[in-house]
Amino acid sequence: MDRNKLGKWLKSPGKMGQKYSLHALYFCTGCGIIEIPPTITARWDAERFGVIPVATPRQANLFLITGYVSVKTLRAIIRSYEQMPEPKYTVGFGSCPINGGMYWDSYNTIKHLDKYIPVDGWIAGCMPRPEAVFVAVTHLWTLIDKGMADGYKNYRKNYNSYRANQEKVLGKLEWPPLFSIKD
């Protein structure tokens, strides 16, 4: 942790700020949300890492997707993701967003979350322990430091294919494209 190194703060204040002030939006899908209250409250205390929960997507820059994603919640996830200010980071939590998990043959859940929104990192497990969230956060720090947590840039760049994937599942989306669609 280089939070107290003044030289790094003077060199790139924006990047250091984004590292050590992750305002998290916990999207309460599925059973993963059970693990989040102990993580943010007195037992495991996420606030010492600078991670605090916020109420709306406008204030957030870390998006935790906890548990399986049904087709209905995918719509809300996409809208929330698009409202977050850049730079923004997404972490899939549990095995269900990775590959469907135990819902791999369900008719109503999506299998791979990263087809629809960009995902910067995964926490595998069913369920992952709260400690795994902190491992993910510290790993995200190194990714931000090296400039590798660039999911939001990918979303801008490949918006056409993301939008096409979203429309394949959800049908016609009722909101206009976020970026101009070039073909």
Partner: protein
């Protein structure tokens, strides 16, 4: 030249002290919960991050309202003596402050209203109702102080207190001081009067649509607001101070006391808050005013 220097010193120190108070509140709350807690500099880190983000505007009034709100807070700061420094002590005093204290909620209301978020509207209506609740006792308190000292200038009140001892030592102002202590959590938005933001029920209220630099400005405005509430209490009732260091020490002690109240109390509903504010603090302030008028 001197006055410009003083204005800059006051705004800068209010910004740093206010943000330091917010960080200290997060740390002390964490220790009360038996957690380790964030570093004390966490609000500064948050502000730096928020300014480095992109942000979405919802219209011209959305941008202007937030500047209006921040300006209102800054202008109030200039009327409050900080140690001996008070650049605008010649003009206005308490009468101006009671007008200007409504500007910052008004600016925030204009700004958040333009975002057309239902949660923001609920938050704004609660903010104004709460302001209506604490302005009545606040006016009575100010009237008692002005009657007792026969002046409207805060700088002069501080000077008299340096000679004759704190206001708390005199009977009518003891009652007014207790009344101010009872409404101070409402002025600085602490529990049990935290129903304006209430993240768990109305998604942080007026802040619901703010992101990026807008949220940074509202955080700074909140820091100024905390500074103003406590600084007014210190100046009027705890004797002010001859030098800024002693003044900040007094403010720190008052802030930590109210932080303990914040840590252990739940949240009022808005109508409970109004009923409370118009009953006990207003009654105490009124009795204080009457005694001040009779004896003075």
């Amino acid at each position: 030249m001197d006055i410009v220097f003083e204005i800059m010193i006051i705004i800068l120190s209010a910004l740093i002290i206010g943000l330091f108070f917010l960080g200290l509140s997060r740390k002390i709350m964490a220790r009360i919960h038996w957690r380790y807690g964030p570093p004390i500099a966490q609000p500064f880190i948050d502000i730096i991050k928020l300014f480095s983000q992109t942000s979405t505007s919802h219209g011209t009034l959305f941008n202007l309202g937030i500047i209006f709100s921040l300006t209102g807070s800054v202008v109030v700061l200039l009327f409050l003596p900080l140690g001996k420094m008070c650049p605008l002590s010649e003009s206005g005093g308490l009468l101006v402050i009671i007008y200007l204290m409504l500007i910052s909620p008004l600016g925030l209301a204009l700004s958040a209203g333009d975002a057309a978020n239902p949660n923001a509207s609920i938050g704004i209506s609660r903010k104004f109702l709460l302001a209506m609740g604490y302005e009545v006792p606040l006016l009575l308190i100010f009237l008692a102080v002005m009657t007792y000292y026969n002046t409207i200038s805060i700088a002069e009140i501080v000077n008299i207190q340096l000679l004759t001892g704190w206001s708390f030592q005199h009977l009518p102002l003891l009652l007014s001081g207790i009344a101010y202590a009872l409404i101070l959590p409402a002025i600085i938005g602490f529990r049990p009067f935290e129903m304006i933001q209430a993240p768990q029920e109305i998604a942080s209220g007026p802040m619901a649509e703010y992101g990026g630099k807008f949220l940074a400005f509202t955080t700074i405005q909140h820091a100024f607001n905390v500074f103003i509430g406590i600084s007014l209490f210190t100046n009027l009732f705890l004797g002010g101070a001859g030098n800024p260091g002693y003044f900040f020490l007094k403010m720190l002690i008052v802030f930590i006391l109210f932080l303990f109240v914040n840590a252990v109390t739940p949240r009022f509903r808005i109508e409970q808050a109004i009923r409370y504010l118009w009953r006990w603090p207003a009654l105490l302030a009124f009795v204080g005013l009457i005694i001040a008028v009779i004896t003075g």
